[in-house]
């Protein structure tokens, strides 16, 4: 219980500090970006800068004014402030950005936010059930299924999708069907154990 509270407080602090850092850097950033824009041959006048996009994330509707080229990952992190989903490779190769769109796991870095105005998006921040961790989150804690934690939100969202898909029958299946999520620390054995626990119905092992 203590552990959970600490983690949540840490998350809140990180969120606040991100917002603060973003605000204070704004002037600096916009100045720094000016020359970049000049060197890029583009901006035909017919191309709109931004469009209104409403995203339903973790049950809450967010109305954003963004360019069509903003990926779902960037919309979540940079515009909505949900920084749980991580940007690893930004090319669909590492799985750190995995979220659930209408219950299906996808790489949020390889899809535009504007494509998902009719969808229900679930991120790591939306998995918690009331005051309880999602069983997969609890299993990751119980099995110590991470080291640095950077890939963990993507691993957990991916594992939740895997369980829902219902195709994993063995540890070999789990490894194969989790292969879209890379863990540089090499926590794979414990990740497989955590996913196996949930598949076998061992709930809330950590609490």
């Amino acid at each position: 219980m203590k552990f959970r509270l600490k983690r949540r407080r840490l998350g809140q602090l990180m969120f606040v500090s991100t917002v603060a850092a973003t605000t204070s850097n704004f002037v600096e950033k916009s100045v720094a970006q000016t020359p970049v824009k000049k060197t890029t041959p583009m901006l035909k006048s017919s191309i709109p800068e931004t469009m209104k996009v409403t995203l339903k994330v973790n049950g809450t509707a967010h109305s954003l004014q963004i360019e069509p080229r903003v990926t779902l990952l960037d919309a979540l992190r940079e515009y909505i402030g949900l920084t749980g989903s991580k940007k690893g490779c930004d090319h669909g190769q590492c799985g750190a950005c995995t979220v659930l769109v209408d219950g299906r796991r996808v790489n949020s870095c390889l899809t535009f936010a504007i494509m998902h105005t009719d969808a229900a998006i679930t991120t790591i921040e939306g998995l918690e059930q009331g005051n309880n961790l999602h069983p997969m989150q609890a299993a990751f804690v119980a099995r110590d299924a991470f080291q640095c934690g950077y890939c963990t939100p993507g691993q957990i969202c991916s594992a939740v999708g895997l369980v829902k898909e219902g195709h994993a029958k063995s540890d070999a299946d789990i490894r194969e069907l989790m292969s879209g999520n890379i863990c540089r620390c090499g926590a794979y054995p414990n990740i497989v154990a955590a996913v196996r626990d949930v598949l076998e119905g061992k709930k809330d092992a950590a609490v």
């Binding site: 191309i47 360019e67 669909g92 999708g161 292969s179």
Partner: protein, 327 residues
């Protein structure tokens, strides 16, 4: 990434009407290949027409054929009960490709049109005849371990990366399209082009022509089929060599055979000579080895990919032994 205009299309005819007249417009389906390449500035469409709302994701029997809608997701095709039962090679090929997340996004039409993984194609600081016609090929004199040994030209040796298309080529699949000129059917084996002098042209599609479905005809070989993929790691990697194999064996004699290769050809590679070598032969190791030899008889390996010739042979023999029940 360069900015672009975005539109959504709800019907195929609207989508075609939006893309066909504009040379700088492109369809946006699963996005897994296109958005990746847009981030690299390899593809820079000025207008994207999102075709995800199109009602083209059904998988259903049409007479004796199975029609797979172009917007069906790779994962849905792979786990479809009819496909698993009647066309196992296709299910296996799909499940050997990409990751579960990518398969949930990627579509059948998009998979046929995915671009090569040649490093030089993906790197805008390097010459590439496919990306910038006439700029040269960095792969032929460069690091070409992953490149093609079949179907290359002195302009391009990039492989086609799809697993799905290899299985479909073996299954005599037919691509259904729609354009301002109407509808047409294209046998998949004729759909992709060899690079020749124009590696920038990869398929017979005209600009704005939309893939609406892929048909799999009924056959006497598809049920006994298998996809074997060899790669640098156990999962989630492109093929070094892959084989789609299907056999109809009656009383120990091969009555029809299909062999297609991935990871070694500049297009999904149908190995007709290997199929011929199997026809009316007893299903045994000698026949499989003869087929494997025939498949790579025309191979032109590069400096770093000569290993693919023997790898392809062995992969073919192993796949055929599995299909023949001898593995």
């Amino acid at each position: 990434m360069q900015p672009f205009n975005y539109k959504k299309a709800g019907q195929a005819e609207n989508a075609v009407a939006l893309v066909a007249p504009d040379a700088e417009a492109s369809y946006l389906a699963g996005g897994t290949s296109l958005i990746d390449l847009m981030k690299l500035n390899v593809q820079m469409p000025k207008e994207l027409v999102d075709i995800n709302p199109l009602p083209l994701s059904k998988i259903e029997m049409q007479g004796n054929s199975l029609r797979i809608g172009a917007m069906a997701r790779n994962s849905d095709v792979a786990y479809d009960a009819i496909i698993q039962q009647r066309y196992p090679v296709l299910s296996e090929a799909l499940l050997s490709g990409a990751s579960p997340q990518l398969r949930n996004m990627a579509t059948v039409g998009g998979n046929l049109l995915q671009r090569t993984r040649c490093y030089y194609f993906r790197d805008t600081s390097m010459p590439c005849n496919k990306r910038v016609p006439g700029s040269g090929c960095a792969a032929i004199e460069g690091y070409n371990r992953i490149h093609a040994i079949l179907g290359g030209s002195d302009r391009c040796i990039a492989t086609h990366p799809s697993d799905m298309a290899v299985a479909m080529v073996a299954l005599d699949a037919v691509v259904q399209t729609r354009s301002p000129n109407g509808e047409r059917s294209i046998p998949l084996v004729d759909f992709h082009l060899l690079p020749g002098e124009t590696p920038e042209r990869e398929t017979v599609l005209q600009h704005g022509e939309l893939i609406v479905a892929v048909d799999l005809p009924a056959s006497n070989f598809a049920k006994r089929s298998h996809y074997l993929k060899v790669r640098d790691r156990a999962s989630y990697a492109f093929a070094m060599a892959s084989v789609a194999a299907a056999l109809d064996i009656q009383n120990g004699i091969i009555r029809s055979a299909r062999i297609a290769l991935g990871g070694v050809g500049t297009k999904p590679w149908r190995a007709y000579d290997a199929e011929k070598a199997l026809l009316n032969k007893p299903a045994n190791q000698a026949a499989f080895q003869a087929a494997a030899n025939a498949a790579v008889a025309g191979a032109k390996p590069q400096k770093y990919n000569a290993f693919k010739v023997e790898l392809t042979r062995r992969t073919i023999v192993k796949a055929l032994a599995t299909v023949g029940g001898m593995a």
